[in-house]
């Protein structure tokens, strides 16, 4: 352990509290066993493919169609969530209305409700004989078993991300900022666009990125309502399962997984940068 200590503790300072070696050692071992080694398996498995083989798999038309749907629907759902999530967070912080505590508690429903339950429930709701799907039939709009269904499921999944990143920022916002703007003659609309929105933007973007990242990888709530028609309503995580894994084409599944993982890492980086920006702009440290 002495080697580890000198590496992790380059300045050689004394640590007053006990348990550093034990807790850090356990953390690193457990992290490696459960997360890092299994994840590296994906990348190592891909090395069995040549670059041309890899490219052929990840750029096959059917796979590209899933990218378009997964990324497109996740982007649209995240954008819709930014708009309505802001309104929900705003209402929860700024307005009093009956049932507010219940609404506030249920915002986290998508975190707590198993995705499979959400999936079958959403497809029952939006099917053409469902409560909401039935209302759209006269307009010739079909939601369940079409790309629109994917969008609906991803909106559901993304709600808490935006609300829960914006809500604390709104709560911490000093009313003095708005009072200062008003005393300087600004209208409410000007105060919102020039004073509030710039402060909320990093949090809104963070919520957007979180919802987007989650939406691209989402599986359970989507597959029941999507219909899973190749080239039309098939999502990328599904193609890993159906076309690759179930056909025992592990290399093929892995190649698509690598594309998704690289995207995840990119989003992770983006989100960390956004949060640093948000902390700076709102004056909150962590």
């Amino acid at each position: 352990m002495s080697a580890a200590v000198s590496f992790f503790n380059p300045t050689g300072q004394t640590r007053v509290l006990p348990g550093f070696g034990l807790s850090l050692g356990y953390t690193l071992v457990y992290l490696s066993l459960v997360v890092l080694i299994p994840l590296s398996a994906v990348f190592i498995q891909t090395t069995s493919l040549t670059w041309a083989e890899f490219w052929a798999i990840v750029s096959a038309p059917r796979v590209v169609a899933t990218y378009k749907l997964s990324f497109g629907a996740a982007l649209a759902a995240a954008a819709i969530n930014v708009v309505f999530g802001l309104m929900l967070a705003w209402s929860l912080v700024r307005y009093s209305f009956p049932g507010k505590k219940l609404v506030d508690a249920l915002i986290d429903l998508p975190f707590a409700l198993p995705t499979a339950v959400a999936g079958i429930s959403l497809s029952a709701l939006w099917a053409s004989n469902g409560w909401l799907g039935g209302l759209l039939v006269p307009f010739g709009i079909k939601v369940a078993f079409t790309p629109l269904g994917v969008l609906v499921a991803l909106i559901f999944i993304g709600v808490p991300f935006v609300v829960r990143t914006v809500q604390p920022v709104l709560e911490d916002l000093e009313t003095e900022l708005e009072e200062a703007a008003a005393s300087l003659g600004a209208h409410r609309r000007q105060t919102f666009t020039r004073v509030l929105l710039p402060v909320l933007t990093p949090a809104l973007l963070t919520g957007f990125a979180l919802a987007f990242a989650r939406g691209v990888g989402e599986y359970g709530s989507v597959i029941f309502i999507a219909g899973n028609i190749p080239m039309v309503s098939e999502i990328t995580p599904l193609i890993i399962i159906i076309t690759k894994l179930e056909q025992y084409d592990e290399s093929g599944a892995t190649a698509v997984a690598v594309v998704m993982l690289l995207f995840s890492f990119l989003m992770l980086l983006t989100i960390n940068l956004l949060q640093a920006w948000s902390a700076k702009r709102t004056g909150r440290n962590r």
Binding site: A180, A181, L184, G185, A186
Partner: protein, 359 residues
């Protein structure tokens, strides 16, 4: 520009914060609203600004009832205790904000905005910081920018809420002097809220003393300090020794002792509370002097030209009770003759008395 408030009342959740307050703020003066925290001074300032709506009463700006006017139309400049600068804007943009949000027809052209903002930044001596962001400034610098921002819209009145409250002692003193000088240049009618009596007395033309939602006294710094109108004002403005007793002719009887009073407001037999400032109390070592309270010297703190002597009332010490504490300020050389534990007599020069029920 004159401001009057008439019969302003305000309650928060059943607590009366302002109780029928009427005040007249003369044009061009710098007025301090002074009082302990919770006395309603900040609420009054916010009511004048239109940030708070009074339950009753009127705010009159330049002879017009402005009670129903929205804060953005009142043309008041408001400076917040914690500055409330917009973090995502540069210093320049902060100051320009009030000009940029004006209706298109009244809004000055860009070169005019630049000219006016630059002039204001020169006025507060901050032009070299125009491109910085608020986080890059010190507290004192931020407060100057907040003031420049409030002045940019050419307010009819400038309202400052504890403007130096968040600053450390050194900067505070410096900024006080600077604010006074700035006011002498601009003569904008200004009201500032403070709980620091030294600050109010040093900076303001007039001081309004508030306590529990009411106005206790209005006057120049000299008037309120020299002639306090109530026991509250006396004890709030500077250190004071307090005696409680009963009037007996020209004296006040406090326990065993008798003390001379100044003759005002003292009917024979009335219960009174009496005050005397530390520098108005004399220490005599002659224990047979006709007037005075006996006390034991507990501590002598000598620095500079004067010394502060802390004493305990002897009656309580003898009775084994918690003693009354007295404080006396003397020239240093006189304090040198005293020793710790020595019994002395305290003789007040003028003892200011108030009826007990007023206290």
């Amino acid at each position: 520009m004159s401001i009057q408030v008439e019969e302003i009342s305000k309650t928060f959740a059943g607590v009366t914060v302002l109780d029928r307050v009427s005040l007249d703020f003369p044009t061009g003066q710098l007025v301090a609203l002074l009082g302990p925290s919770g006395c309603g001074k900040t609420t009054l300032l916010r009511v004048i600004a239109g940030l708070e709506t009074a339950d009753a009463g009127r705010v009159i700006l330049e002879g017009e009832d402005a009670s129903r006017t929205h804060v953005r139309e009142r043309q008041v400049g408001f400076v917040f205790q914690h500055y409330a600068l917009f973090r995502h804007m540069t210093v320049f943009e902060n100051v320009a904000f009030g000009l940029r949000v004006q209706p298109r027809k009244q809004r000055p052209k860009e070169p005019e905005i630049r000219r006016r903002v630059t002039r204001l930044l020169e006025l507060v001596q901050m032009q070299w910081l125009a491109d910085r962001f608020p986080q890059q400034l010190s507290g004192g610098q931020r407060q100057r920018i907040a003031l420049a921002r409030a002045l940019a819209v050419e307010p009819r009145v400038l309202l400052l809420d504890e403007p130096f409250g968040a600053l450390d002692a050194q900067v505070r003193k410096e900024l006080r002097r600077w604010l006074r000088a700035l006011h002498d240049d601009l003569h904008v009618t200004s009201i500032f809220v403070t709980h620091d009596q030294e600050e109010a007395l040093e900076v303001a033309d007039r001081v309004v003393l508030m306590n529990r939602g009411r106005v206790e006294q209005i006057g120049t710094p000299d008037e309120v300090y020299e002639r306090p109108a109530s026991p509250f004002v006396y004890s709030f403005l500077g250190a004071a020794n307090v005696f409680r007793g009963r009037v007996e002719g020209a004296n006040v009887r406090v326990g065993e002792a008798t003390l001379n009073h100044d003759g005002s407001d003292a009917d024979h037999g009335a219960d009174v509370v009496a005050f005397v400032r530390p520098h108005e109390l004399d220490i005599v070592t002659d224990l047979s002097a006709p007037n005075g309270v006996d006390a034991l010297v507990r501590r002598i703190l000598a620095f500079g030209g004067s010394a502060r002597v802390e004493l305990d009332g002897i009656e309580e010490v003898k009775a084994g009770a918690e003693p009354t504490h007295y404080e006396v300020v003397l020239p240093r050389e006189r304090a040198g003759t005293l020793t710790q534990g020595q019994q002395v007599r305290l003789v007040p020069t003028p003892l200011r008395v108030f009826r007990q029920e007023a206290a």
